[in-house]
């Protein structure tokens, strides 16, 4: 970006919000927050606040989009007008359309699309407050919404970003680091199958730096995956405990 007013990493190696280089922002996840959706999830990652809702599989409208050999996955990523400092027009921007596609493609490999042909799944991601790496947080929430909807999946999908800030490779970029840093590498992963479903790079990195960033992002993914599982299980733990008593 235009000017670098302050250092992004101080002498002690701490970042603007006091995190270490390999530290995630505080994350809070909830599942099943919306009663009208088949499945839903809410995530807070630092100042990010994102809602995801999943519907389906259901009959696809308009019908001509239906495919005779598999389900169609549709995704809409949308930022609320109040999600950023200056009002964002609610109409879908170029960036939102692109992110919708990116999120859809990172979730597609995790779903058994061939099981219910001629139907469709809809995912709606609503960014209520944005603070960098929203595509990663959106993927985490959307994948949980799919699991909550009871859609058969190969694995949960987790995502985390890494990047280069002040010549250091750091995990989980926030807004200022994304804008003033030199590079951003978002990675989405199916952890149990150890398969990457999304890998992007924005900025410039050397080969070594890139590899280091990917490794760091994967480590972040693994940590978020543990939280994802915990949240999904927590919803049914009450049921389980009762069972043990009897």
């Amino acid at each position: 970006m235009s000017q670098k007013t302050e250092k992004l990493i101080d002498k002690k190696g701490l970042r603007l919000d006091g995190r270490k280089c390999d530290e995630l922002r505080p994350i809070k996840i909830e599942v099943g927050v919306l009663s009208n959706a088949d499945g839903s999830a809410y995530i807070e990652q630092g100042k990010n606040k994102i809602l995801a809702a999943a519907f389906g599989p259901r009959e696809l409208h308009p019908k001509h989009l239906a495919l005779s050999d598999r389900m169609v996955l549709r995704c809409r990523y949308h930022m609320a007008p109040f999600s950023v400092q200056e009002r964002k027009s609610p109409a879908p921007s170029r960036r939102e359309i692109e992110l919708s596609k990116v999120i859809r493609e990172s979730l597609e490999p995790s779903i058994f699309l061939e099981q219910y042909p001629r139907t469709g799944i809809d995912i709606f991601v609503e960014v209520l407050q944005a603070d960098g790496s929203t595509r990663c947080a959106s993927i985490v929430a959307a994948s949980l919404a799919l699991a909550d909807a009871g859609i058969p999946m190969r694995d949960l999908v987790v995502a985390c970003s890494a990047g280069k800030v002040d010549d250091t490779i750091v995990m989980d970029l926030m807004d200022t680091e994304d804008k003033q840093g030199t590079a951003d590498v978002p990675v989405a992963l199916m952890p149990n199958l150890n398969a990457i479903t999304l890998l992007q790079m924005d900025g410039t990195l050397t080969h070594e730096e890139f590899e280091k960033a990917v490794d760091l992002a994967i480590e972040g993914c693994q940590r978020i995956h543990a939280m994802q599982k915990e949240v999904l299980k927590a919803k049914y733990v009450g049921v389980k405990e009762e069972e043990v008593e009897e």
């Binding site: 088949d38 499945g39 389906g56 599989p57 259901r58 009959e59 005779s68 995790s110 058994f112 219910y116 042909p117 001629r118 139907t119 699991a147 909550d148 909807a149 009871g150 058969p152 999946m153 190969r154 694995d155 949960l156 199916m190 952890p191 149990n192 199958l193 994802q228 599982k229 999904l232 299980k233 049914y236 733990v237 049921v239 389980k240 009762e242 069972e243 009897e246």
Partner: protein, 239 residues
């Protein structure tokens, strides 16, 4: 041939359940000789078969299932019915009229109109064709009275109970007729709205506590208490 989860443990999609000579059952899949879960659920082993009893799922039509659906559209020679599944079902006019259908004479919307509820049986379904329904059997057809409640379709077996113990107990205690749609829709017809309400409370409770054991006894007790309470209230209002 290790297994990584004990019986009745909770799994999430992608969890590796077993490796080696096991057979993948419900809500699981195999990759590289490893069995993974594909839904949130509870692990069950059945000899060499690994099942996951899903906690979140939707209804998939199967031939022979009794379902309760809503007519959503009156077509040229039949009806489109919403059966709470990914696919909409078709009900043919000749099936309902039990004679050949004559478009010049028969007005379909007078037989069944959009919004009508029906009990029907699935007679044909595969992945390339939408499910087809029939009402030409005793007990099937248009619903004229009673109350409808919806539960998750995975919980219908719990409402039935072991060898039908739960459902027959509720029928007996509440003096209601209950038809269970496998698609998660339940029809309750009783002599009075109070009886119907009682049955609804019981089914709601089963839905909430479906994964606990000793449920039938608890529901029986709850129904008895509830009935006693109502009796008391009635006597009080009389005095």
């Amino acid at each position: 041939m290790p297994t990584f989860f004990e019986r009745r443990q909770l799994v999430t999609p992608g969890d590796l359940i077993a490796e080696g000579a096991y057979v993948a059952g419900e809500n699981t899949y195999v990759e590289d000789n490893k069995i993974y879960a594909s839904r949130i659920g509870i692990v069950e082993y059945e000899n060499k078969k690994v099942n996951v009893v899903a906690l979140r799922a939707f209804y998939i039509p199967r031939m022979g299932d009794i379902v309760i659906g809503t007519v959503v559209e009156v077509g040229f020679n039949g009806w489109t019915v919403d059966i709470n599944a990914p696919y909409q079902a078709l009900l043919r006019a000749s099936d309902v009229l039990s004679r050949p259908f004559k478009p010049q004479k028969d007005e379909l919307s007078q037989v069944l109109d959009a919004g009508d509820l029906i009990v029907a049986k699935i007679i044909a379904y595969d992945r390339t064709h939408d499910p087809q329904l029939t009402v030409a059997e005793p007990g099937l057809g248009k619903i004229t009275r009673g109350q409808i409640i919806k539960v998750t379709s995975t919980k219908i077996p719990r409402v039935i109970g072991r060898k039908g113990s739960m459902i027959s107990m509720i029928k007996q205690e509440t003096d209601c007729q209950i038809i269970l749609g496998v698609n998660g829709v339940i029809l309750i017809t009783g002599k009075t709205p109070e009886d119907e309400e009682l049955a609804m409370i019981a089914i709601r409770k089963i839905e909430e506590e479906s994964h606990t054991s000793g449920l039938t006894d608890r529901i029986t007790q709850m129904l008895k208490e509830e009935k006693a309470k109502r009796e008391e209230n009635k006597n009080e209002s009389k005095n």
